[in-house]
């Protein structure tokens, strides 16, 4: 169960704003970066209580970290412009 939808949306929006000035990279880099983000969010864990539960089992992934990352990447892909 996720009861911090507001924080997820706000982190995505802020990530998007900051990410819109990051130039686009190749697709392979995005896949590697996403895996790296999952690993780091696992180690960040429930730092400010932003983990979620699936049938009373706490998943030790920090969702706000992941949505921030997705915001950065989506902003970069849509508005970032090509890398020189």
């Amino acid at each position: 169960m996720i009861d911090f939808i507001g924080a997820l949306i706000a982190s995505f929006v802020l990530g998007f704003i900051i990410g819109c000035r990051i130039r686009r990279f190749s697709a392979v880099i995005y896949v590697v970066l996403f895996l790296a983000a999952i690993v780091v969010s696992f180690f960040v864990g429930n730092y400010p209580f932003y983990t979620f539960e699936v049938s009373s089992e706490i998943i030790p992934l920090n969702l706000v970290f992941i949505t921030s990352f997705l915001g950065l990447i989506v902003g970069s892909l849509l508005l970032g412009g090509a890398h020189q």
Binding site: F4, L14, I22, A36, V40, V64, L72
Partner: protein, 249 residues
């Protein structure tokens, strides 16, 4: 519209905004009643507003002080801009950090490290009312991530191409957000920077950033976001100014 004419309107708007904000702050101070022993009572109440008592004190109890600290950053950036600003760049192309070639290790690890740092900065901003952290720390981490990119890639070929206008926009947006959130307090209670939504006697209505806790931080998370944007913009623009400055012979 000519530049001089537009500049006149801008000055008038700035004057009006200055008068409105200063009037509101002065009225708030005039109406403020200081009750002896209030800090002791507040120390008991603070953990009921947000889990991070330090955040509650910084943004709720002494919000004016934080507002001043936020505006100090703008003053610092203006000073850096005046000293190292555009007028001093006679030969921008010769700036030391303009053209930098990253080493192979920097090329491979630079982008992941910077992106992870940026995510961590955002996480610190959104956890400011819950745990140690907040807008100042989160904004500093974001600015540090950007400055690492400047060190690795330089200004010219940096994939994180935050220009002057974007960073000044971030800084202005953060400061404006902080000031306008204070006006929301006037609308609800008559006091500038009143923590709207955290009133423990009424039902809070700002619950977008509600979290798993019986307390309700009100607009503390929003103030954290405002400060985070402001610190990110300020420190980054100062870093850009310094990086673009030409090394004197």
């Amino acid at each position: 519209m000519k530049f001089e004419e537009a500049n006149q309107y801008r000055n008038l708007a700035a004057l009006a905004a200055f008068l409105i904000f200063s009037g509101i702050v002065l009225i708030t101070f005039y109406r403020l009643e200081v009750i002896p022993g209030i800090s002791y009572i507040y120390s008991l109440i603070a953990p009921n507003i947000a889990p991070n008592a330090v955040g509650t004190i910084v943004f709720d109890f002494r919000g004016y002080d934080t507002l001043g600290e936020t505006l100090i950053l703008i003053t610092a950036v203006i000073t850096v801009g005046v000293v190292f600003g555009r007028g001093a760049f006679i030969e921008e192309e010769y700036a030391e950090l303009r053209h930098v070639t990253p080493t192979p290790v920097q090329s491979v690890f630079g982008i992941p490290v910077i992106l992870v740092l940026m995510c961590f900065g955002l996480l610190l901003i959104f956890g400011g009312h819950l745990t140690p952290g907040g807008g100042f720390q989160g904004g500093s981490v974001l600015a540090t991530a950007f400055f690492i990119s400047v060190i690795i890639y330089g200004i010219k070929r940096n994939p994180f191409h935050y220009g002057h206008d974007f960073l000044i926009g971030m800084e202005t947006l953060g400061a404006l957000m902080f000031l306008l959130l204070g006006v929301a307090g006037v609308a609800v209670s008559g006091y500038y920077l009143y923590n709207v939504g955290a009133n423990i006697w009424d039902q809070g209505f700002i619950e977008v950033l509600k979290y798993v806790d019986p307390t309700n931080a009100g607009m503390l998370p929003y103030l954290n976001v405002a400060v985070g944007l402001e610190v990110f913009g300020s420190l980054s623009i100062a870093a850009v100014f310094l990086a673009e400055a030409r090394k004197h012979d």
